[in-house]
């Protein structure tokens, strides 16, 4: 964070300073270098010019001095000159604008003839022999001018140069003597002193050894001062040892070794350059400042807000939500900071809200915990209550079962008398006509009469059979569960009417009430249902109507047996069925129930003109144990009806008017599956079935013979066995297309035999015949090894059908 921040700052700073300074630096360096070179060259050129001028002047000075000597020498009148004359002449020479401090005339041998000095008095005794001195030897020997080295007066320190010229004899042309003088180089000082090279610059003349001969400041010469002359002009150590621009120019006097030096302190020589450098430096400093200021501003305007943001972010990330980023400007960073602050505000608000909600949740959770605890207690209590309820319900169910059974027994009891009556009627017919035949043998001869009697007897027997079967049907086992099969409601209505006939006909008549039961049945689709339940429903409803009619009419107790015709029709019960397309049913909550699609319904209406119901009774009539019949009723009839309708997903509507009658409207959903082929009551089996070899295992001889006769009549052959063991032996010995087995037999029952036969020959169909057939069929009982069950008593038709089915491997129950 610190490093990233200092990185941004330093980068900005470097960028700004770089932008401000770098170009200036480059340009400044270039300008400085150029200026330095230029200035140095210029200054050096100027100095060289000055030096050249001074050198020329110096050379001129020396040559003038030399010339003076030469002119004087030419004018010396040879040997005619006396010593005194010579002295005076020399004196004049010395007094000339003082070039020479001292001048001597030497004779041919090098002795001084005369000498003149500006300082001392010279007499003849002061004259010296200078034969060995170079100032004599050179001019005397070669005739050339002698220019000696620079020397210095030991007292005053003044520089001198010994100059000597030959004195030529005009007659001989030879050297007659030498004129030698000490040239005062001090006079050159004046030449030099006028040379001005800047403020601190100086021009001076150095001798062959570097000693300063002439300088604007005499002290330098008198010092004396030595200058370490460099090889060539340029930047060197100056006279004072400091760096200087030094120009060198030799004085063009042969052998003098003098050179003019013009020097200028380097700083002064390069003053313009230095000034430029200063200016550039100042600008650089200003640019640097500007860069710093810009960088500072930029840092202030960029880094500081960013840092503020970063600090705030850090603070926030560490949990301090009270921090806010400083909003320093209205620019993008300001907007960012504002947005950040807004975001933080919202975050804080959200967190506060969350905290509040968490607190609320905690409270709610605490409350919930409490509630849960309470609810658990309640649940526990409920569970206990439920347990008690279940126990109670179980008891209630048991009680209810008992009551239902009781009701059923009551109904059975009610029917029993009617059934007995009917059965007696049938038996009476059979007995009567059979006795007629027996007692009147002559009538046997009358075949037509016999056939008529037999037909009546047969009908009576059939009626009896039907009466028994009616009873069986009623008593069918009820607890097989809701096995819904396609049911023809019309058939059930017919069955129910006949099944309840003893009630509505017999008992009603016994009470002096004539009840007419009519059925108005339209073709209707099958309904999915349980035949037994639906039959019970119908029976109950008919009973209920009968009771209602009886209740209205009050009955005619003790009326005795009356003829039907004598009675007016007191009651009427009408059963109607018809088909209706229903709208989707809506339950109490308004939600569609069952199929939301329009569906076919089969409607059953049972109307009576009985007592009807009051509103209160109507509202409560479906309640269990509610009864208007006092001790006679269980109060379960209509509630069972309602339960059955509910189980069949049907609807029950009661339209009733007190004193006028009641109509129960029951609608049941039509079965979607197509109706199965109706029972082939009278199949044309004779033409289809090939002759069969049948084994009949039956302990009752009469039955055995009857079945043998039936089979023979249809062209089949039959072997018989009196019990199971015998039947098994015969089956093993012969080959049979069909086996008829009675259920109840001594030694080996049908139940035991059938599986053995099936195991021996699985392809051989077996038919079980039993007096319990209807009950077995109703209970759905399946016997192992049995393909089909037939109920006794058997008719030829029943047998034919059964044979036809099993031989076609069709295991359909017939009954």
């Amino acid at each position: 964070m610190r490093s990233a921040n200092s990185s941004i700052r330093s980068r900005l700073t470097v960028a700004f300073i770089g932008l401000a300074v770098a170009p200036l630096l480059v340009a400044g360096a270039a300008i400085t270098w150029y200026s330095y070179s230029f200035q140095k060259g210029q200054a050096l050129t100027l100095q060289l010019e000055l030096a050249r001028g001074a050198a020329i002047q110096t050379a001129d000075f020396i040559s003038v001095g030399t010339t003076q000597l030469k002119v004087f020498a030419q004018n010396i009148p040879g040997t005619e000159w006396t010593s005194d004359q010579s002295r005076r002449g020399l004196s004049r020479l010395v007094s000339q604008d003082p070039f020479f401090e001292e001048v001597s005339q030497l004779d041919r041998s090098g002795r001084e003839l005369a000498r003149a000095s500006r300082i001392v008095v010279v007499t003849s005794s002061d004259l010296r022999n200078r034969a060995q001195s170079p100032e004599f030897l050179q001019p005397a020997g070669t005739g050339a001018t002698y220019l000696g080295p620079v020397w210095y007066d030991p007292v005053t320190g003044e520089p001198f140069m010994t100059v000597a010229v030959p004195i030529l004899d005009p007659r001989t042309g030879g050297v007659s003597g030498v004129l030698a003088g000490n040239l005062r180089l001090k006079k050159v000082w004046d030449l030099i002193s006028d040379l001005r090279v800047g403020e601190g610059g100086a021009a001076f003349i150095a001798d062959q050894n570097g000693w300063v001969v002439a300088h604007r400041n005499p002290s330098v010469v008198l010092g004396p001062t030595r200058f370490a002359a460099p090889e060539e002009s340029g930047v060197h150590a100056g006279l004072d040892g400091n760096a200087a621009l030094v120009a060198l120019q030799p004085v063009a006097i042969q052998g003098s070794g003098l050179q003019v030096v013009v020097e200028q302190p380097l700083l002064e020589a390069l003053a313009p350059t230095i000034r430029e450098v200063l200016v550039i430096g100042s600008i650089l400093v200003l640019a640097l400042l500007a860069g710093l200021v810009m960088a500072s501003l930029a840092v202030r305007q960029i880094v500081r807000p960013v840092q503020g943001l970063a600090n705030t972010s850090l603070a926030i990330s560490s949990g301090d939500l009270t921090q806010r980023a400083p909003v320093t400007a209205g620019d993008e960073l300001g907007t960012l900071a504002s947005a950040f602050n807004t975001m933080t505000d919202r975050l804080q608000a959200s967190i506060n809200s969350l905290k509040q909600r968490v607190a609320e949740r905690d409270a709610a959770v605490a409350k919930l915990d409490k509630e849960i605890a309470e609810r658990k207690e309640i649940e526990e209590e409920l569970r206990e209550a439920n347990l008690r309820l279940e126990q109670t319900l179980a008891q209630l169910k048991t009680t209810q079962g008992h009551l239902v059974q009781q009701e059923r027994l009551r109904a059975l009891g009610q029917m029993a008398s009617g059934i007995a009556h009917d059965f007696n009627n049938a038996l009476a017919t059979i007995l009567g006509f059979s006795e007629l035949l027996l007692t009147r043998p002559t009538d046997v001869e009358d075949t037509e009469k016999v056939l008529a009697y037999l037909q009546i007897i047969n009908t009576g027997a059939r009626d009896a059979t039907r009466i028994v079967s009616r009873l069986r049907e009623f008593y069918r086992h009820r607890e097989e569960g809701d096995v819904f099969l396609p049911v023809n409601l019309n058939e059930l209505v017919q069955q129910s009417i006949s099944l309840t006939q003893p009630k509505w006909k017999g008992q009603a008549l016994a009470n002096g009430v004539l009840i007419d039961v009519t059925a108005s049945l339209e073709p209707v689709p099958l309904v999915a249902g349980n035949e037994g339940d639906l039959r019970e429903m119908l029976t109950n409803l008919i009973f209920n109507s009968v009771d209602a009619i009886v209740q209205r009419t009050g009955g005619r107790a003790g009326a005795g047996v009356v003829n039907e015709e004598q009675l007016a029709t007191d009651g009427s019960i009408v059963l109607r069925t018809y088909r209706r397309t229903s709208l989707p049913r809506i339950d109490a909550n308004g939600a569609p129930t069952a199929s939301p699609q329009p569906a076919d319904e089969v409607v059953l209406e049972i109307s009576d003109n009985g007592a009807g119901m009051t509103d209160e009774v109507r509202q409560r009539c479906l309640e269990p144990f509610f009864t208007t019949k006092g001790d006679e009723g269980t109060g379960l009839g209509l509630s069972m009806v309602f339960g059955i309708v509910e189980r069949h997903k049907g609807a029950l509507d009661i339209q009733t008017t007190w004193g006028q009658g009641t109509t129960f409207v029951i609608s049941l959903p039509a079965c979607a599956t197509p109706a199965p082929a109706t029972r082939e009551r009278t199949p044309d089996a004779e033409t289809r079935i090939r002759p069969l070899h049948v084994l009949v295992v039956e302990d009752e001889e009469l039955e055995r013979d009857l079945m043998t006769k039936y089979f023979n009549a249809d062209g089949h052959t039959a072997e018989v066995a009196a019990n199971g063991r015998e039947g098994l032996q015969k089956f093993q010995q012969g080959k049979f297309d069909l086996v008829i087995i009675d259920l109840a037999m001594p030694e080996m029952s049908g139940e035991q035999l059938a599986p053995v036969i099936k195991r021996l020959s699985p392809q051989t169909p077996t038919i079980m015949v039993t007096g319990f057939g209807d009950m077995m069929l109703s209970s759905g009982e399946v016997l192992p090894g049995v393909d089909l069950i037939l109920s006794k008593p058997l008719s030829l038709g029943d047998l034919r059908n059964a044979v036809a089915r099993v031989t076609q491997r069709d295991r359909v129950t017939v009954g």
Partner: protein, 329 residues
């Protein structure tokens, strides 16, 4: 950040300081008024003082603005020199300009132990007088213009102008170094030139009176050494010399104007200018110890009026060798 700002604030100071320094160096502050004390033995040497001031003016020292001179004129008497020198020193001067050997000796004594620089002019032989160690390296707080021995040459020219002179009167002040040195050189030259010196010792102006009032009969020339006592009476000597038609030789052009026949020696004004150049160096920081003593130039001057007055004819050959001539009107 804060540190950076503080740093950047300090950065401002850098160019500011640089600018101030540049401004300060470009606007040179006015130098404080310099005080130069002048000690002079005799008003005869005033031309030295005048030349000094001219030279100083040439070098940029404007009297009353950048320099002031403390000068009460030539004291005239030897005894007054010492108090004068001490009084000048007490004025806390920046430099003392001592005129004449006698004055320089007193100033040297007065400034002993101080660092007050002293420039002298003229002094005949500062080495012998103990003022400097050597001419090229004075070594102390004194430097200046030396005249050296010119008395011999003065006598020689006197002989040239007036051939045949035998006895030359020389006023001498044994207390004055210049006079002593001059007399020594003069004696040597007199031997060579076969001239007899008649030395008259006079330590004060009054002691000259006997000579002036009754010049010895046998002297045929008078020669003045750079002896302030004698120089201060140059007019009287000139008067006496003309009256006796005797040639009078002196040291400088100033005495020529006072009536001397000739002079040989330094030019006081030029000497003053020369001394001013040294004073400038000293005032600008060069130690006198490092400033070599310079030697003055000598000049040969002739007064044709006096020559006429004393009936002396000077050959053209001689005149041609003079530097300056006071001619007949």
């Amino acid at each position: 950040m804060r540190r950076f700002i503080r740093f950047s604030r300090q950065v401002w100071l850098i160019p500011l300081t640089a600018l101030v320094m540049v401004a300060a160096s470009s606007c040179r502050t006015e130098p404080a008024m310099l005080t130069i004390g002048v000690v002079n033995f005799t008003s005869i040497l005033n031309p030295v003082y005048d030349g000094f001031k001219l030279g100083m003016a040439d070098l940029g020292y404007v009297e009353g603005q950048s320099v002031e001179y403390v000068y009460s004129g030539g004291v005239g008497e030897m005894a007054d020199l010492d108090p004068e020198a001490r009084e000048i020193i007490a004025r806390k001067v920046d430099l003392v300009f001592a005129i004449s050997t006698a004055a320089t000796l007193k100033v040297q004594q007065a400034t002993a132990g101080t660092r007050i620089p002293v420039v002298f002019a003229p002094v005949v032989d500062p080495v012998q007088s103990g003022m400097v160690n050597s001419l090229s390296r004075p070594g102390g707080n004194l430097t200046g213009i030396r005249t050296g021995g010119f008395a011999a040459k003065e006598l020689e020219w006197l002989v040239v102008l007036a051939p045949g002179i035998q006895r030359v009167l020389v006023p001498h002040n044994p207390d004055d170094g210049a006079s002593v040195a001059g007399l020594a050189a003069l004696r040597e030259a007199a031997n060579k030139l076969d001239v007899e010196l008649v030395v008259h010792v006079a330590r004060t102006r009054e002691e000259l009176n006997p000579v002036l009032t009754s010049l010895p009969e046998d002297v045929d020339a008078i020669l003045i050494l750079p002896n302030p006592v004698a120089l201060s009476a140059i007019a009287d000597f000139a008067h006496v010399a003309v009256a006796r038609r005797l040639p009078l030789a002196s040291t400088s052009y100033a005495q020529l104007e006072a009536g001397a026949l000739m002079s040989y020696g330094p030019d006081y004004t030029r000497m003053g200018r020369q001394a001013a150049r040294l004073a400038d160096k000293v005032l600008k920081g060069t130690a006198p110890a490092d400033l070599p003593v310079e030697t003055s130039e000598f000049f040969f001057n002739v007064n044709l009026r006096t020559a006429h007055d004393i009936g002396l004819t000077i050959p053209d050959e001689v005149l041609q060798q003079t530097d300056r001539i006071i001619r007949l009107p």
